[in-house]
Subunit: 422 residues, 2 copies
Amino acid sequence: MYTDMNKDELLKLKTETEEKYAQLCAKGLKLDMSRGKPGADQLDLSIEMLTHCIDGDCVSLDGIDCRNYGILDGIREAKELCMPMLGVGKDEIIIGGNSSLQLMYDTIARAMLLGVLGGDKPWSKNPTVKFLCPAPGYDRHFAICESMGIEMITVPYKSDGPDMDVVEKLVAEDELIKGIWCVPMYSNPEGITYSDEVVKRFANLSPKAKDFRIFWDNAYCVHHLTDTPDTLLNLLEEAKKTGKQDMVFMFTSTSKISFPGGGLSVIGASAANIEYMKSQMTYQTIGYDKLNQLRHARFFKDFDGIKAHMEKHRAIVEPKFNTVLDMLDKEIAPLGFGSWHKPNGGYFVSFNGLKGTAKRTVELCKQAGVVLTGAGATFPYGKDPEDRNIRIAPTYPTTDELYAAMEVFVTAVKLAAIETLV
Amino acid sequence: MYTDMNKDELLKLKTETEEKYAQLCAKGLKLDMSRGKPGADQLDLSIEMLTHCIDGDCVSLDGIDCRNYGILDGIREAKELCMPMLGVGKDEIIIGGNSSLQLMYDTIARAMLLGVLGGDKPWSKNPTVKFLCPAPGYDRHFAICESMGIEMITVPYKSDGPDMDVVEKLVAEDELIKGIWCVPMYSNPEGITYSDEVVKRFANLSPKAKDFRIFWDNAYCVHHLTDTPDTLLNLLEEAKKTGKQDMVFMFTSTSKISFPGGGLSVIGASAANIEYMKSQMTYQTIGYDKLNQLRHARFFKDFDGIKAHMEKHRAIVEPKFNTVLDMLDKEIAPLGFGSWHKPNGGYFVSFNGLKGTAKRTVELCKQAGVVLTGAGATFPYGKDPEDRNIRIAPTYPTTDELYAAMEVFVTAVKLAAIETLV
């Protein structure tokens, strides 16, 4: 551990690490670990999907010609395919286009411009609108808020989800807090799954704002990396028990199941919320791409089909996570230059270095040809108060590339750490 | 002509028409002419498109794996395919998802929430926002405004486009007028194409609001129904001559070229507008469906491919328009119970009956099993001040169905007219 080292030992380690870093820079690497992007081999798993409908049979179970206009909320078989992902019923779902980010953005845009069910005015008619942002979290969630001028309040994470004492207190006090961002399963980036108690406390929130909504982005609901996956309570069902089901907006997508650029996105919510949203959405579009819905339904057949498909993803992704974790265990753990935990699923390993080292680490990686998510990106306004958190996305590089990138990463972590110590 | 008939003659015609109407009602028809929906045979024309990419070759000309995330504004070959539709360059285009309505809605939502290039605040920060609405026009345009509380001001049409004296005067006077809706070619529903003079006057508008935009929905830019199609001046090019190019937002789609439920939508605008829009859109989505873009580019190859494809549509659609027009010529023209004109393209025949007869005509059709677009739908707030205009959409029914529906329509027109006369 670095805490056991004297200055000479640290300086010696510094020299060694600088030499190693120079060698790595000389390799002229060009690698990207910045985003949670599936690798090409993962995309190949779904290529057969594209063969559906090519025979001209484009009619859904309900007799809808999926090539033509209509059916705002999605065809029946696509709903049935996706309902188990969120654990919702047939009146509690809308199938969207290729982007759940877009569904979330649009949901907030509508709330700002038009308001939500039970609200007495559009959010934007308030002097200001605030969101709670458990952090570290998903940078694109925070970016939506920032783009719309929604004030973000950081909420710390505990080991089983957001600090609910803080959440409960804040929402009860401030009527201008209209929402909270959550990635409840294999959270981005921490890989945490919310405990039953946390979900129940969410279901029982008593916000001062009656038009408050929980944005429950269950992006990694089937993205397990172990035989003993985490489990997540169904927030909507829990909220029904407290009569607060209209407080919940759930989202997911097949972006990391089928194709990131050509998947299906999903909203799950109470039947009343869904009806209300549809009454607003009907002005925006006549319907999303039903041909793609039909392809998905025919290819995966049902939820078991999705689960079996995710095992194929796991076979590709799990070794990559192990490469990352092994390298951290071997190179960083003995020195104590950071902490992390092994997630049971999802797309990220969240690395927390010594205070004040994240930006420098990312910079050193970049100079050596390895692009990481910007330090701070996982916090509101891009500002990590302790400059510690770095999101590692292992999926996109090949295993060889990932190994090379992680060599750079651990070397950069060491250098950045030593620089703050000597 | 009915003006030459005495009361007895009218009453005799009424009795005959009522008998005919009763016979038609007895048939128990169930036909829908309410929307501009292509028929199934038109959709079959593009079915081969779906065979592209199924071999796993999903890489664009620029080396982009179209299955994965990214490329907010669309792949190069999709842009090149669609650029000639609007007459724009490679920096003046964004390829969207399956719905140009959604692009238009989102463009207005962003303008309301965030503002447009050159504006000093979001539109919604004004006490009220107003749009000019040339009418009769597209009901879904008006519905977007209504849903967002944007005040609509009706502008009358002349034979070559909106009354530009009115448009010029209003936009110059009122800073709260932020936009105008236009369908400049084969307009919905009138089938009018704006004259060169009208386009030039649009290009030279001097709105008081510096964040004013022309919403130029060129939905029918290649939807000709004659060997001597209408021509439309390129608004963006004309506006460049006056230095007012940032005033123009153009839209189109392949909805009625390939698949209404699975086509491509397009925004065309000045390079500066496009850059600005992209800087806003990046918060909403990582990118639209590039696989569908690739399929379109590979299937149509180029603009000539689109034009050749539209000839196939014309072969199906033109006879349907003729069925409508022949029936009107034969049954209504001699009596003078309405007026219309033969459009050279587009999706509609716009029928203007005697004052105060449109609602009744639509009601009579409905009772006989023929659904038309609601009377008044072509005007802001659904209110046709003279209750005259009915939009006929000939494409969706088969030719036999269309003939049956038009029998009902002309009978209903006669009955409604006579009822106001006797």
